[in-house]
């Protein structure tokens, strides 16, 4: 009994001291992971993930507080990349945070706009131009489609318009694989 206590005391003392010392001496500084995660997020800054922007969400993921499937604009592809980076399982987009939509841009109905500047303040990427009491316009190229400007508008003049394909932005379709028989799923 005594020998047991002595032996374990020795081991514990050595290890406890070493770890306690090490814990203070070699603190891990900074977290490059956040940058890597942030680089994957779409930077829409829409807050649908439940965080006030992409960077905070990235920090939350890195800190283990958030799941990787909370960003609807990033969609399935984004989740896949995050899973890859973090070595986690791919999951479907969390329903409570929204659904993946085709990219849209905000369009201000200029007839209706009263120039209140509320949307300008809401837009996280300065994509809206206009001054007080001037009707405002969205610079299409800069708009990330975050929809943050839609709610604040007092006259509901902002609508989200999905972007149509042009010949230049057209993507080749996934070649259809005609292997599956419709309606013949396993019962």
């Amino acid at each position: 009994m005594l020998s047991a206590l002595l032996v374990m005391t020795g081991i514990a003392l050595a290890i406890g001291a070493a770890l306690g010392y090490a814990a203070v001496r070699f603190r891990v500084e900074g977290d490059p992971l956040v940058e890597k995660i942030d680089a994957i997020l779409p930077q829409t800054q829409c807050g649908q993930c439940g965080y006030p922007g992409c960077k905070p969400y990235a920090q939350a993921i890195a800190g283990g507080e958030a799941e990787i499937n909370q960003c609807p604009p990033g969609g399935e592809e984004g989740i896949r990349k995050l899973a890859d980076l973090l070595g986690r399982e791919v999951k479907p987009l969390s329903e409570e945070h929204g659904v993946e939509k085709p990219k849209a841009v905000a369009v201000i109905d200029e007839q209706t706009c009263i120039g209140c500047t509320l949307c300008i303040q809401a837009c996280p990427v300065d994509a809206i131009v206009g001054a007080a009491k001037q009707m405002h316009t969205v610079v299409e190229k800069l708009c990330t489609g975050c929809e943050l400007c839609v709610a604040p508008c007092p006259v509901d003049c902002i609508s989200m318009v999905t972007q149509a394909e042009t010949v230049q932005t057209w993507k080749w379709r996934y070649p259809v694989v005609p292997l599956r028989v419709e309606g013949k799923r396993a019962a």
Binding site: A12, I15, G16, L19, G20, A23, A187
Partner: protein, 235 residues
């Protein structure tokens, strides 16, 4: 603890976060010891015991454990409890002890034990922590039992052979006839991997079908539940 909490813990441990099927933790004993049902269930019980004790101990002591040495302390606690269980098996179920071999000491590194201690017991009160451990352990035990049963049945056509090691006087079942040629592979490592793979697939299939049904059921109202309840009968 409320009923609701209890059900939540039970559902998590038994199904949603099942260690063997969903979290894929504690795989080594799961695969190595499930050659027959008796071994599997025995190790499962031992694991439940260790998990419950260690969760209880950690939940009680959690306020005294400094953050920086929490993991060494957790390991210390688990290892001590495992040793206690190991000694107890050695003393009172000696033949079983011989069969389970190093897998009793290995409960220490069984990731699920440390995972539950770290993720649950370190943050929750004693009672719920213990329940959580028991539920998680039971989830693992369930998988162990199914896996052990399937493998034993395929390999030798028996069930619960060797039960006399635990319950003297009881005897196993010869399920298939005497001339069953036996599928030895099931008792070997490939059979373990394969059977667990199929169990996981079955688990996925059930979950997928449930999810599909939930999608089909239009509203989460009373009739939605009804549709969900009647579906198993009709399908």
């Amino acid at each position: 603890m409320t009923r609701q909490e209890f059900r939540e813990l039970a559902h998590n441990g038994l199904w949603k976060q099942n260690p063997g099927l969903a979290q894929l933790l504690g795989l080594c004993p799961l695969l190595a010891i499930s050659t027959n049902m008796v071994n599997a269930v025995s190790l499962g019980l031992a694991t439940i015991l260790v998990m419950a004790l260690s969760n209880l101990a950690v939940a009680c002591l959690r306020n005294f454990i400094p953050y920086e040495i929490r993991i060494p302390v957790f390991i210390l606690i688990i290892a001590a409890l495992v040793t206690v269980v190991d000694l107890a098996f050695n003393a009172y179920f000696h033949s079983l002890y011989l069969v389970l071999g190093i897998f009793i000491p290995l409960i220490v590194t069984n990731c699920i034990v440390l995972a539950r201690v770290e993720a649950y017991a370190a943050k929750n009160p004693a009672l719920t922590s213990t329940v959580d451990a028991i539920m998680m352990g039971t989830g693992l035990l369930g998988v162990l039992a199914v896996l052990g049963g399937l493998r034993e049945l395929a390999a030798s056509g028996t069930l619960l052979a060797g039960i006399e090691m635990v319950l003297p006087g009881a005897s196993g079942l010869q399920v298939f006839g005497d001339d069953y040629p036996g599928f030895l592979l099931a008792a070997l490592p490939p059979g373990a991997f394969f059977t667990l793979g199929c169990l996981i697939a079955a688990y996925n299939a059930i979950n997928q079908r449930r999810a599909a049904r939930r999608l089909q059921a239009p509203a989460p109202s009373a009739d939605g539940q009804q549709a969900g309840a009647s579906a198993p009968l009709t399908s």
